[in-house]
């Protein structure tokens, strides 16, 4: 029996209009409207009220089911931190330094069957009630382990930065699909229309490879793409008034513009897009004052600033990013991604050369700020509704990449990520790698399981959240249904 399920590729009205270029009446904004609005609008010749004009594509939407988390802060450790040097304790490796062993690895240097062990370079200590072993790279984070669920059995499809980052951010190793933050905003909208719903903050050392592809909305409209927000200089591209323009000058410009546009619109009734464009200028104006306030850290107490490490040159930059992330989430931003590491080589976690130098640098910059973020969210009662995710595009190999030195190549066969808050269990560890950390052996989890878990905590069914494009119901998690990681959900 051919089963022609009509809703199989059934589009939402919104997608239909975008796909089909419904022209003026079915414009993008109107495309966001539901059928009732359309009918109402079609029947009225009077101008809609101001409220109706701005149909924000990011207006909050109902989740599929009651959500545990309202917002996500994804701390992206670009380059791939070594799991066995951070949170995946491998006691039997100590004393094995430089020993050549048989082990299958696949990294930038290709497939190998043996290698020289690089013993973990840091000691591990037990922390918290759960007794989690954490390396000396993270003394501050160690104090938060009872709020964290560690996943030690992550796997990804590629051990190459370009494709692996695309997968961690967009679910696919190919280019062109919307990122996690785009999906979340598409599914839920944002709580604050005066701020972008998907914020990206970069390391001061630079952007990641592939740059904006990592926060692209792919085949979705640009309104869902990530917006880079800075703690210094211009907070958002083109947000600041030009040097020659004061508020009073700009206000006159906008008021007169509106006068002209209103007159034009009066001559062209029945074209909702004109009204939407008029309204969008007012929203832009509001953003000009809202966004700088959101990133203005001087409103924070000295104690808070200190907690995030703003008083130390080492931690101040990432500390600012973390503190901004909290402020943005507080103001209703749905998805914030903060990059630790930028540019190339040792400017990020990609420790091909000197492992100790590299990881001391990046852990040193982030340990205190991340711990502060978790504690700050908790003390403000925000941790329950904010899902914090930590990890990179893959982990690192137990063996050395080159003949000499401590550099480790990439490892997508097994690595660690952790989640905290937003309805995730604290003080648990899930999944295991082998005794070298070379590959996940117990409860092996693909990247899409993390994606599914994030969506699930936000009240979105990962298997239902779809977007019609190119003849297909596209989903972040791909073709096969995917379960969230129930073992770590509280």
């Amino acid at each position: 029996m051919p089963r022609k399920v009509p809703n199989f590729c059934g589009r939402t009205r919104r997608e239909f209009f975008w796909q089909s270029g419904a022209g003026f009446t079915g414009c993008a904004l109107a495309g966001m409207l539901d059928a009732e609005f359309f009918a109402k609008f079609g029947q009225t010749s009077a101008r809609p009220s101001d409220d109706e004009k701005w149909q924000n594509p990011l207006a909050p939407k109902q989740p599929h089911f009651p959500a545990k988390a309202k917002a996500v802060i994804f701390l992206y450790m670009y380059g791939g931190p070594s799991h066995i040097d951070t949170f995946d304790y491998k006691p039997t490796m100590y004393g094995m330094d430089n020993k050549t062993i048989e082990v299958k690895t696949f990294g930038r240097g290709g497939h190998k069957n043996q290698g020289r062990i690089v013993e973990p370079r840091w000691k591990f200590k037990q922390y918290g009630e759960c007794g989690k072993w954490v390396s000396d790279l993270f003394p501050h984070l160690g104090t938060c382990v009872d709020d964290i669920a560690f996943i030690h059995s992550m796997t990804a499809d590629s051990p190459i930065h370009g494709s692996a980052m695309l997968q961690m951010n967009s679910g696919r190793i190919l280019s062109g699909s919307p990122c996690l933050g785009s999906w979340v905003n598409y599914g839920l909208g944002s709580e604050n229309e005066n701020l972008p719903g998907f914020v990206v903050m970069l390391d001061d050392k630079g952007g990641p490879i592939s740059g904006p592809k990592n926060w692209s909305s792919g085949f979705m409209p640009a309104v869902y793409q990530g917006c880079v927000v800075r703690s210094e200089g211009t907070a958002i591209l083109d947000l600041n008034r030009h040097a020659t323009m004061t508020d009073s000058v700009q206000r006159k410009l906008l008021d007169t513009l509106r006068d002209y546009n209103d007159a034009h619109e009066a001559l062209h009734p029945g074209n909702s897009e004109l009204a939407a464009r008029i309204a969008s200028y007012e929203l832009a104006y509001k953003m000009q004052s809202t966004a700088p306030e959101a990133v203005n850290l001087s409103q924070e107490t000295e104690a808070t600033q200190k907690m995030y490490g703003l008083d130390s040159p080492k931690t101040q930059y990432f500390g600012r990013q973390c503190l901004m992330a909290r402020r943005l989430v507080e103001r209703g931003v749905r998805f914030v991604q903060v990059y630790s590491g930028g540019a190339h080589n040792d400017d990020n976690w990609d420790a091909h050369g000197d492992l100790v130098f590299n990881h001391e640098l990046h852990a040193g910059e982030t340990d205190q700020p991340i711990a502060a973020l978790l504690k700050d969210l908790k003390q403000r009662g925000m941790l329950d509704s904010t899902l914090v995710v930590w990890g990179g595009e893959f982990g690192r190999q137990p063996t050395a990449e080159y003949e000499k030195g401590t550099g480790r190549d990439h490892n997508a066969y097994g690595f660690t990520m952790w989640l905290a808050g937003g309805g995730i269990k604290g003080g648990v560890s899930h999944g295991k790698t082998d005794e070298l950390g070379a590959a996940a052996v117990e409860n092996k989890l693909h990247v899409k399981r993390i994606h599914a878990t994030i969506l699930h905590q936000l009240g979105l069914d990962p298997n239902r959240l779809s977007y019609f494009y190119g003849g297909l119901n596209q989903r972040l998690i791909g073709v096969e249904d995917v379960e969230p990681i129930r073992e770590i959900i509280a």
Partner: protein, 839 residues
């Protein structure tokens, strides 16, 4: 409930590079017992059945209406029959069985998530090796039908879009005086059937603006508008259309539509996002072809098989750059899979763009909606599988696999001096690099392979291994070499094009679940079964290619192909009227939107072919129709009955395209460089905030002269990972996939960009300066000139008053100078709705 979803293939997730050896080693020790029938039955009941019960039946037996992968595990026969990925069991070679691979999580992961235990895997493997004993008494209720229902049924073949278009009768209408040509009869018939009447004709001012933008992407000058509005010639409009169709700017506008469809980009995406060499020649080819009104069938044949034509020319070779526009991962985790991802990308683009079908949905399984089988997909893919991949890792490999030079004989001799110079500079560059490399650690050698990283690595050695002077020279030499190389290239004529492995194509196999590592039956090249096509007529290999693509091209570009002409005629309609007669203009399959005017589409398709597949007669016909000339006048009563304007009771207003907006702004400012057409792409200056998103700020973004920066947007470099804000903001498509219909979004970031960006501030200043003497000329005149230029009409007194008032307020209240105030006024004008919307 399991909710199925489609795949864009490629994503045979976890398996892609997972070591495949986990199970063969286990098989080494596998003991296959010999059992009598009763023992075999007992083996099933005691050993096998519990595993099936616990791990398989939930998805593969319980709900026969929704079987996972359409595979029923209900009986021996059902398993042998298999599901959408083909038979689950290979009785001759048990290890090759899909089920064995699946339970070992090789290529497919079954059960999904947690693997079965080692013992369970062993049991199932032995069961298969034994020949799959399954006693009759233990069979479950299975699907009614034996085998899969036929997808390509007679009924499917009768689908409207699969019939060769037939010229319809022109319908009779009551108000026949309204009709200017055949198109109007079809539209008016529809309106009359719904008791509606068309909107009145638009004003001449609206019409000329509409026509200019539609054909050239640029506005008319106010003088041209005045002349046209006052032209007593009753044929003034026809003459205008003919003049615009002959304009070289026509190709610059319409090429952009085609480039959207073929996902034109000038870089590869991924970590290095390298620039595609000489790809701009393809863009120029499209512009020139459109300006020449090249027949569309020929246009397609040249792009698909320009190299296989008996009379191939440089132009037809450049056309095959079509195959090189897609994304390319130069460092794929799974090279074999990546190669087929690239072929898939080509087939997806050909299918959707030229045939209006999502053939790509049948990569991993039969198409879920359309009558396209997995076999159809691979038969179509077989036309492309002899194409050499774009490159293998390095830029040099790209030059080898995808670039060819068209230099005339004797070229090398004539340019000996130039080539020697290039070699000499190259040697100097390498000498510095050799010095710097002395203390490279291994990882730096690795990094050095990427040309973009070299400067930084060499610079690190300043003061140690090399001097600052040497480094400065190094940078200068690189610039010199680039310039010399460009000079050489201007004569050497390197082009980006398709190349094949040779005359003998490799076999093409069906790939189980789209995995390049699990091969099914071999297939021969063939067209889509549901179209009842002829056998491909492959004339035989050429010296360098299989000749297959020419056979495909001739079939696609044939008047007998039911889809090609229809799909293109519909697109031309869409680009003039804002939406297609079929709104889903790249999907004419079962899930596509039904045509609002099916007979009109038939008419246009047949007329298009009758006109020799030429676009210009079609444009002319559409634009001379009374339908096109309707105004956008609103009618609340009609809006209530037909809110989407399906019946065309009025002309839909439209916002300008991103390129039209940018070009118009430059034109208003007197800055648009219209003199230069074609050539290497240009790089507008971008704010540092934009570059800051890159891992190497400014990487692969060159510095263009102001004259070049101010060229039309079609010539702006299209970099996959770095989009020009004003173009991206106004919905220029992401070039990773084909884009048949652009979004038209309205969002505050557009307003921020249009008011605050350096680009807008600069253009507003230029605009103001070009209005006259800002100190002396009367304010009213300056304001009127700005409005007339931007809106292409004479402004009303009240509008001028408004302008004077705000300029005065700025000068009086805010103490702005007259220039500053007028600059702000120009900025305001560029933000008017009337400036960016067409009536």
């Amino acid at each position: 409930m399991r909710i199925l979803s489609h795949c864009v293939a490629a994503i045979v997730a976890a398996a892609v590079f997972w070591p495949i050896l986990t199970y063969p080693s286990a098989f080494g020790q596998l003991q296959i017992p010999t059992l009598i029938e009763a023992e075999a039955d007992a083996f099933f009941v005691e050993k096998v059945k519990p595993i099936l019960e616990n791990h398989c039946w939930e998805c593969h037996a319980e709900d026969l209406e929704d079987l996972g992968g359409e595979l029923a595990i209900t009986s021996r026969d059902a398993l042998l029959r298999g599901g959408e990925s083909g038979p689950a069991i290979n009785l001759r070679d048990y290890a090759a069985s899909l089920l064995v691979k699946a339970i070992n999580h090789d290529v497919i992961e079954m059960p999904p998530g947690e693997k079965l235990s080692k013992a369970e895997i062993e049991t199932l493997t032995i069961w298969i090796a034994l020949g799959l004993p399954w006693p009759k008494s233990e069979e479950l209720a299975g699907p009614e039908s034996q085998g899969k229902a036929e997808l390509v049924t007679e009924e499917a073949k009768r689908w409207w879009a699969f019939q060769v278009p037939q010229r319809p009768n022109i319908p009779a209408v009551k108000n026949s005086q309204w009709c200017r040509n055949e198109i109007d009869a079809f539209i008016l018939k529809g309106l009359e059937d719904r008791q509606m009447t068309p909107a009145p004709e638009a004003s001449r001012q609206s019409l000329i603006r509409r026509a200019y933008y539609d054909l050239t992407g640029l506005p008319p000058s106010i003088e041209e508008v005045r002349e046209f509005v006052n032209d007593p010639d009753p044929h003034a409009y026809e003459k205008l259309i003919d003049r615009l169709l002959a304009s070289p700017h026509y190709g610059e506008k319409w090429a952009r539509h085609w480039l959207d469809l073929v996902r034109y980009a000038e870089s590869n995406s991924f970590e290095r996002d390298g620039t595609k060499p000489f790809v701009w020649r393809y863009r120029d080819y499209v512009i020139q072809s459109l300006n020449d009104d090249k027949p569309y069938d020929q246009f397609l044949i040249e792009q698909l098989a320009g190299d296989e034509l008996p009379n191939a020319t440089p132009e037809t070779l450049i056309a095959t750059g079509f195959y090189r526009l897609g994304q390319w991962d130069d460092e794929p985790a799974d090279p074999k899979q990546a190669q087929y991802d690239a072929y898939d990308d080509i087939l997806a683009t050909v299918g959707q763009t030229m045939l209006g079908l999502t053939i790509n949905c049948a990569r991993c399984h039969d198409h879920k909606i359309d009558p396209i089988t997995g076999k159809d997909y691979y038969q179509m893919l077989a036309f492309f599988t002899n194409i050499r991949p774009y490159g293998v890792r390095s830029h040099e490999s790209v030059l080898d696999a995808s670039v060819q030079t068209l230099s005339r004989p004797g070229f090398e001799k004539d340019n000996e001096e130039l080539m020697q110079k290039i070699a000499a500079v190259g040697a100097q560059i390498e000498a510095i690099e050799a010095k710097a490399k002395q203390d490279f650690i291994p990882v730096e050698h690795e990094e050095f392979r990427n040309p973009s990283r070299r400067n930084e690595l060499v610079q690190k050695r300043v003061g140690k291994l090399i001097t600052q002077e040497e480094f400065d020279q190094y940078v200068q030499w690189q610039r010199d070499r680039r310039e010399l190389q460009q000079k050489l290239d201007d004569q050497r004529l390197p082009i980006l094009c398709v190349k094949e492995h040779g005359p003998n194509p490799p076999p093409t196999h069906i790939m189980i679940r789209g995995s390049a590592h699990v091969l099914g039956d071999e297939v021969e090249p063939g067209f889509l079964t549901v179209l009842s096509p002829p056998q491909p007529k492959i004339d035989g290999p050429t010296a360098r290619t299989s000749g297959r693509r020419l056979a495909l091209a001739r079939w696609i570009a044939s008047p007998e192909n039911p889809l090609t002409a229809r799909v293109m005629a519909n697109r031309i309609w869409q680009y003039h009227f804002g939406r297609g007669i079929v709104r889903t203009s790249s999907d004419f399959g079962f899930q596509g939107a039904a045509p609002t005017h099916p007979e009109l589409l038939e008419y246009l398709a047949t007329q298009f072919i009758a006109d020799g597949w030429r676009l210009k007669p079609l444009h002319r016909k559409l634009m001379l129709s009374a339908t096109y000339r309707m105004s956008s006048q609103f009618n609340p009563e009609y809006a209530a009955i037909d809110p989407e304007n399906d019946s065309y009771w009025r002309f839909d207003m439209r916002r300008l395209l991103a390129e039209e907006i940018r070009d118009s702004i430059l034109l208003m400012a007197g800055q648009l460089n219209l003199n230069k057409m074609f050539g290497r792409s240009v790089y507008p200056d971008l704010p540092p905030e934009v570059f800051a998103g890159q891992s190497m700020p400014g990487d692969n973004w060159e510095k263009s002269s102001i004259d070049d920066q101010n060229r039309r947007s079609i010539y702006v470099h299209v970099k996959r990972s770095l989009r020009v804000p004003i173009l991206a903001n106004f919905d220029a498509p992401d070039p990773d996939f084909t884009c048949p219909v652009r979004f038209t979004t309205t969002q505050p970031s557009q307003a921020l960009n249009m008011i605050n960006s350096e680009f807008m501030q600069t253009q507003a200043a230029r605009f103001a300066e070009s209005l006259g003497d800002l100190q002396q000329d009367p304010l009213g005149e300056l304001v009127a000139r700005a409005l007339a230029r931007a809106l292409q009409r004479d402004p009303l007194p009240a509008e001028i008053e408004k302008g004077i008032a705000v300029v005065n307020a700025w000068m009086n209240d805010d103490q702005l100078s007259r220039e500053q105030a007028l600059k702000n006024y120009c900025l305001l004008v560029l933000n008017l709705n009337e400036f960016v919307y067409l009536d």
